[in-house]
Amino acid sequence: MIDINKISEDEYAELFLSRQPIEKSKILKRACVGIAGAGGLGSVVAENLARAGVGKLIVADFDRVEPSNLNRQRFSLSQLGMLKVAALTENIKKFNPFTELVEISEKITSSNCVQIFENCHVIAECLDRAEEKAMFVSSIRKYAPDMYVAAVSGIAGINSGSEILIRKLSDKLYIIGDMKSDSEKGEGLFATRVGIAASMQAHLILRLILGEED
């Protein structure tokens, strides 16, 4: 067993990524990904991307951790009341001290979203309300058309996880979900189905960074 206190951060990074191909990890290390929303989708996307060694994550969410979040969002009882972006950084730093995390604790609007996510290669839309999703995707596509956007629509309820698909809408816009299960219609949100969509979203983002297209 390696004594983690006796190795350098670089040595840990090498061990941490030893099950991924080195050339792919090098590309991921240079990437910057924006994550709009740190809830059921965003908390899983951020963790997955940090596990893959993405170099920089810009996470924006103004909300704080509540008990009703904990059935699906990757936070703990001890983090109740914390800003979600701060709680997420705390969780990620426990296994990955080298991914740079930028915490933005502001509400995302059509006028600040392009500035917040400037210089990102890909953006994950992880917002909750349909109106916010539409506003965010429209604003980024309009004012930052060179960025890839991976958005999500249709993850509520207990229908089959295999209904969640990735659709390529235009050159740089992908939508993940079943396109119909609405959380506002009382179907609820489960960690499993939300997590499937979030993992597909994170995996798509890795593929886009690595030059693969879905």
Binding site: L127, R129, S138, V152, S153, I155, L169, S170, D182, E184
Partner: protein, 68 residues
């Protein structure tokens, strides 16, 4: 007038002039929940009622639902 909507060609009445007319015709009532591209250009919600749709336009409409 023929329009290509999400990859399918459909015929519409000539009375449909703006994008807002089209969305209402498609029974999309909550206009603030959609993202629309016409010929690969995104159209913002604030100009749905001022944006003309023309025969043979390629229109992508994403109707978002909540959950995240």
């Amino acid at each position: 007038m023929n329009l290509n909507i999400n990859g399918q060609i459909k015929e519409f009445s000539e009375e449909i002039i703006t994008l807002e007319d089209l969305l209402l015709n498609l029974n999309i009532k909550k206009l603030d929940r959609v993202a629309v591209e016409i010929n690969k250009e995104i159209i913002e919600l604030s100009v749905f009622d001022q944006t003309a749709v023309c025969s043979n336009d390629c229109i992508e409409i994403v109707s978002f639902v909540g959950g995240g």
